[in-house]
């Protein structure tokens, strides 16, 4: 009887969630909502999110708070998550336009949803597989986020604003539930 061939993938898992991660309840509308913008510091992320914020303020009279991520490449630390939960009704994060920051945006989304905050993560289309993989790893397979074409970093100011306008409806749809029932 030959020896078994050993498995190199290990069995030691640490604390990141593998149990099913719940999606937060959505408000029926964004009227007067406190919107937290979590800017990941990538090129054009700030003008992109600020324009989304400006459009939401015009349409729904939201109040905005802005934060920049501690490290764009990894999910936010617990202290920042707690702050976001305390001062935001909904969060918009982005722009996930690289290998690590796209996965981190998905992870931030899943973590905040578990804490009860609806999130619209904005991720560029090139990174859909990695965002999906990270969401599944975090217990939220099929987690929904908004996408925009890649690249964003090289866009002019005007084009960034156009993109923000294009993604607005998706963002609103992700953050609200007007059907009267929640997923």
């Amino acid at each position: 009887m030959p020896n078994a061939i050993l498995d190199p993938t290990g069995s030691v898992k640490s604390k990141a969630a593998t149990a099913a991660a719940p999606r937060a309840r959505r408000p029926a509308s964004l009227n007067g909502a406190r919107v937290g913008l979590l800017i990941n510091t990538k090129q054009n992320a700030r003008p992109f999110l600020e324009e989304v914020g400006r459009l939401l303020t015009e349409k729904y009279d939201v109040t905005l708070t802005e934060r920049t991520k501690v490290n764009f490449a990894v999910p936010e630390p617990d202290e920042v998550i707690k702050e976001l939960v305390a001062d935001s009704d909904v969060v918009i994060t982005g722009v996930g336009d690289c290998g690590s920051c796209s996965a981190a945006a998905a992870a931030d989304g899943v973590v905040l949803e578990t804490a009860g905050v609806p999130v619209a993560a904005i991720i560029t289309e090139s990174f859909i597989p990695t965002a999906d993989a990270m969401a599944a790893l975090r217990g939220a397979p099929g987690y929904k986020y908004a996408t925009t074409a890649h690249p964003v970093a090289v866009l002019t100011e005007d084009k960034v604003k156009e993109r923000a306008a294009q993604v607005l409806d998706d963002v609103v749809a992700l953050l609200t539930d007007s059907s009267g029932k929640n997923d």
Partner: protein, 358 residues
Amino acid sequence: MTDEAPEGSGALGAPEAPDPDEAQRAIEYCYDQGWSDGLPLVPVSRPLLDRFLATTDKEPDEIIGSLEQVGRDVDVRTAAINAAMAGCKPEYFPVVLAAFDALMRERAARGGGFQSTSGPAPLIVVNGPVRKELGFNTAGGAFGPGFRPNMTIPRAVGLIVRNAFGIHPHVLEQATQGVPGRWSICVAENEEESPWEPFAENGGAGGGVSAVSVTLTRTMEFVDNRHTPNHEDVLRDLQDTIGRIGSLIFPQTSVALVLCPEHAQMFAAAGMSKADVQNWLIERSGRTGREFRLMGKESVATKTFHGPFEGDDAFHAILSGPRQIPVIVAGAKNAAISMVVRIFGEWSGTAVPVVEKK
């Protein structure tokens, strides 16, 4: 059962010839599980694993690294399986452990490095008596191939990241193009022909001990200068490559200089220590704001991350101190060709001693 015994195996107690067909089946099995980096793996059995575990005092279930964002830890046992799969000999395992320890000290490795579009590779540098003991290449062809420790030890690290951390290409691993030779870059310093202290000493492991230093590299570019007796000409040539704008994306950067023995000895003969070489290059490496602006990189020619453009006429220096320009000596003393290694992030500054079983 072999068809034909090879010559000399008829004596009592001689081993049977290995079965290549069975070996091929086992190799294909490993490919089918998705464990491979593309090259054939050594199928690992319990007896082989035990030989690896016997080389260290660490317990098999001791955690030696974590990647928090993917929720995975790796323990000694899993690292040993991957090292064996990579083709390491059991006696290489303490070096693998030191290399992995050194790698996980890099902030970029614990962060998004393995997922990054840059596709960076560990640059593993080995110092001390272990180089000769295990048969590392310490001379010509420092970047490979041809020598089992130099090739299999970085491969082991790559397999740990793939299999234990679960970072697979096109899924969590998102390199645009990546570095050629990723997971195969392991240089044993040519201490014998270096005019300076061993690199491990710069990382805090002095006294001639065996130690491993690791940083992450995005790529490397050669500087071939065999043209002049003037050491400052060669320094200017290095400076020119270091300042290449294509490799710069942030206001500050790090490079490792892997100097060939000829260049290192030329600088030393001119009275320069390693620190002198570093300082010379720190003061001069960079480009004017205008040169950055012409390539659309005003955001690089700034004093701080996201700060304002310094202006066309400002000279933007890109190395902020000696830790941003580690210096290693490697290769043969047969041509004046050195390597500028682009560092992803910043070297931790630490050399990790190789600890063998007591």
